[in-house]
């Protein structure tokens, strides 16, 4: 019989670059556990008989299982268990909102010291990356069925990974010149290094997935024509259409969508300009509108490009802030200034069309709205001016309309999302499945992966029986 463990509430912190250094470089902020740290943290896990943590993980990773392996220093075993359920542990360990998912459900959360599931997951993945040889899983023999995966974000990656393993012939198409979706063009280097994503893409290719970049389905070829060539198609095209605020002055120079700003810096590597050729402005005073992960990423990117003052302008209060707690804290430490309960109303420019100042109103919170959050209400007469030379709009994205617009017969909701069967990811079109942000609207990496997994299962069932 196992002896009863005493509770250890000392959550092992993960080393980070000091804020005064990292706020001016693009290197990763969090440095990861050492083996000793990982084992110490893993040993804190109570190995619950009814592990609550698993309920919090959208892909139901065997959390106690992989943690036990780390505690026993069987790192190969831990990564194997992780990969059974999650093909992107190095990504999820870094960007999952753990404090609302696995970690909040951990029994030790009540004591204020949940097991650092994400950090351990990241550790196991990094351990694997350091091994000379990556062990490839066994692949079923070729079924002769052809699958096209459209979009190479987390949803597409999951489907491609799952279907190649069961023996289908998988080709993944990507509109941009690099794969990875938001993981590549959106989430910055200092939070998710490019090498982590390219490692996962390489792995897929090693398994036999064919990758075709520079291919815009709906433009380069219609979905209908692709169906003549492929037995089944998965749409994982994400939510890439930026919203603007629809207020005066939004087309002034110095006003960006978050996508533009981040794409310049991440995908086009403008942070190395003029060594690279896509320019990015190095603004002095920057306001970022919004309160999610995207807004935090923009604000912290602006700081790293040398801005003197960076503000987050958010219309609700700190309690409603949708960003991951860790990223909010990192941003605050690095010196981002938060203006809560503030709404931009008008943007004013100079004679050359450059942003000069932003007029904002103060807000107060009223009754809860449909989203369950308290509704912000403008306080009349509270207008004030903020001098600013850049404004980055990070208030959300709609699904990319290229495929819906070019595909008659594909059922789409009023919001522009593709309508699917909840259990299978099947769309209204024969042999076409969809999942991820294109179905849910902007959500999270792990939810996109979960949707991909579900669709892959249904696709495999169809391909096997047809």
């Amino acid at each position: 019989m196992a002896e009863k463990k005493t509770l250890n509430l000392n959550r092992v912190e993960m080393p980070k670059q000091p804020h005064f250094i990292r706020r001016r470089n693009f290197n990763e902020v969090a440095l990861g556990y050492t083996p000793e740290m990982a084992v110490a943290e893993a040993k804190r896990c109570l190995q619950c008989k009814k592990p609550l943590c698993i309920d919090g993980c959208p892909v139901e990773i065997d959390i106690p299982g992989f943690i036990k392996c780390i505690a026993d220093e069987d790192f190969a075993g831990s990564i194997k268990l992780l990969k059974e359920k999650n093909c992107l542990p190095a990504v999820c360990g870094r960007v999952c909102p753990q404090e609302e998912q696995c970690e909040i459900k951990c029994i030790l959360s009540k004591k204020g010291a949940p097991i650092a599931v994400g950090r351990l997951e990241r550790y196991a993945a990094e351990w694997e990356a350091l091994q000379a040889q990556i062990v490839l899983p066994e692949i079923n023999k070729n079924t002769g069925k052809k699958v096209a995966v459209i979009g190479s974000g987390p949803a597409g990656i999951t489907v491609a990974g799952d279907l190649i393993l069961v023996g289908h012939d998988v080709t993944m198409f990507e509109a941009l010149h690099e794969p990875g979706g938001v993981l590549t063009y959106g989430i910055p280097e200092f939070r998710l290094p490019g090498r982590v994503v390219s490692r996962e893409i390489d792995y897929l290719q090693k398994l036999g997935v064919k990758l075709v970049c520079n291919y815009v389905v709906g433009k380069t070829k219609s979905l209908k024509k692709m169906l003549e060539e492929y037995d089944a198609i998965f749409l994982g095209t994400g939510a890439g259409l930026p919203w603007f605020m629809e207020i005066p002055g939004e087309n002034l120079n110095g006003v960006y969508s978050a996508n533009e700003y981040l794409t310049r810096v991440n995908l086009m590597r403008a942070f190395q300009y003029p060594k690279t050729y896509t320019p990015v402005k190095r603004h002095k005073k920057v306001a970022v509108v919004g309160g999610g992960n995207v807004a935090m990423d923009c604000a912290r990117t602006a700081l790293r490009l040398g801005a003197e003052e960076v503000y987050i302008v958010y219309r609700r209060s700190r309690t409603e802030l949708p960003a991951r707690l860790e990223e909010f804290e990192n941003a605050e430490e690095e010196g981002v200034i938060f203006h809560f309960l503030t709404l931009p109303e008008k943007l004013f420019g100079d004679e050359n069309g450059w942003l000069k100042e932003i007029e904002c109103s103060r807000m107060e919170l009223g009754e809860p709205d449909q989203s369950g959050r308290r509704k912000p209400i403008r306080i009349d007469g509270s207008e004030f001016i903020m001098p600013m030379d850049a404004c980055i709009v990070a208030i959300g994205n709609s699904p990319n309309p290229i495929i819906p617009n070019s595909t008659p017969g594909l059922e789409v909701s009023k919001k522009g999302t593709i309508v699917v069967d909840e259990n299978t990811g099947k769309t209204s079109m024969d042999r076409v499945w969809a999942g991820g942000d294109i179905v849910t609207g902007a959500a999270t990496v792990i939810l996109a992966m979960g949707a991909g997994r579900k669709a892959a299962r249904s696709m495999h069932e169809y391909l096997t029986n047809s």
Partner: protein, 276 residues
Amino acid sequence: MFEIVERKMIVPNLHLLVVHAPDIVEEIQPGQFVIIHAGEGSERIPLSAADWNREEGTLTIVFMEVGTSTGKLALLKAGDKIPTVVGPLGKPTEIDHFGTVVCIGGCFGMGSIYPVVRALKQKGNYVVTIMEGRSKNLLYWENKLSEFSDKVIKLTRDGSYGYKGHIKKGEDIIRETGIKPDRVIANGCMTLSYKTTKEYSHFNIPVIVTLNTIMIDGTGMCGVCRCTVDGKMKFACVDGPDFDGRYVDWEELAKRRKQYLNEEAFLVHHSGCGGI
């Protein structure tokens, strides 16, 4: 990888590029463009289709060497490979039986107007094509354009070939010859688009111009190509690049186009064309 079939300078500073891109040419329509990315570190740049050959799978582009990325393209030779040619992007130019259509091409637009001219002629329109350039040695493709035009008018600013003038003169010609256009379509730099709009608006006919906004992805993802048309925000890469010039907010567009002038000024190659 996309293989270069040919690259040559056709007139000073303007290059012809033929690239093997079978999937793209299978679908491409007049007025659409591709985005080319010449490799790590380069910019993604939008370039219009000037011609294509579906049997051979080749796409022809005419581009002006203005800066770093077009400068890189100007160094390519047959057999070279470039990693990114993506498209066809944007909405095709509207082609129908309109009656008499005046097609204006300046600079690279003498090339990109060609598929438009051809399609309009095949639809049974009376097509008047105006070729516009600073000087005789900057005009090209007169033969190609003549094949599908009922009338070709040459305009040079120094009067070295055809009529002397820029855009206004073109309008005079139309009055002189008695041709009343039902539609005007212009391809070329922003100055040409803007002046065309100014000079033809009073005919109360659609003045279709391509807007050369700054672009990155070309799929509606980044919003850098946004412009105001008829009071509404439009993305040139997916809602355009053709718009009716009469409703375009030109002042805003001109300012937005200059966003990176400081950054790129030191890279600029002076073409002497006068307008960007």
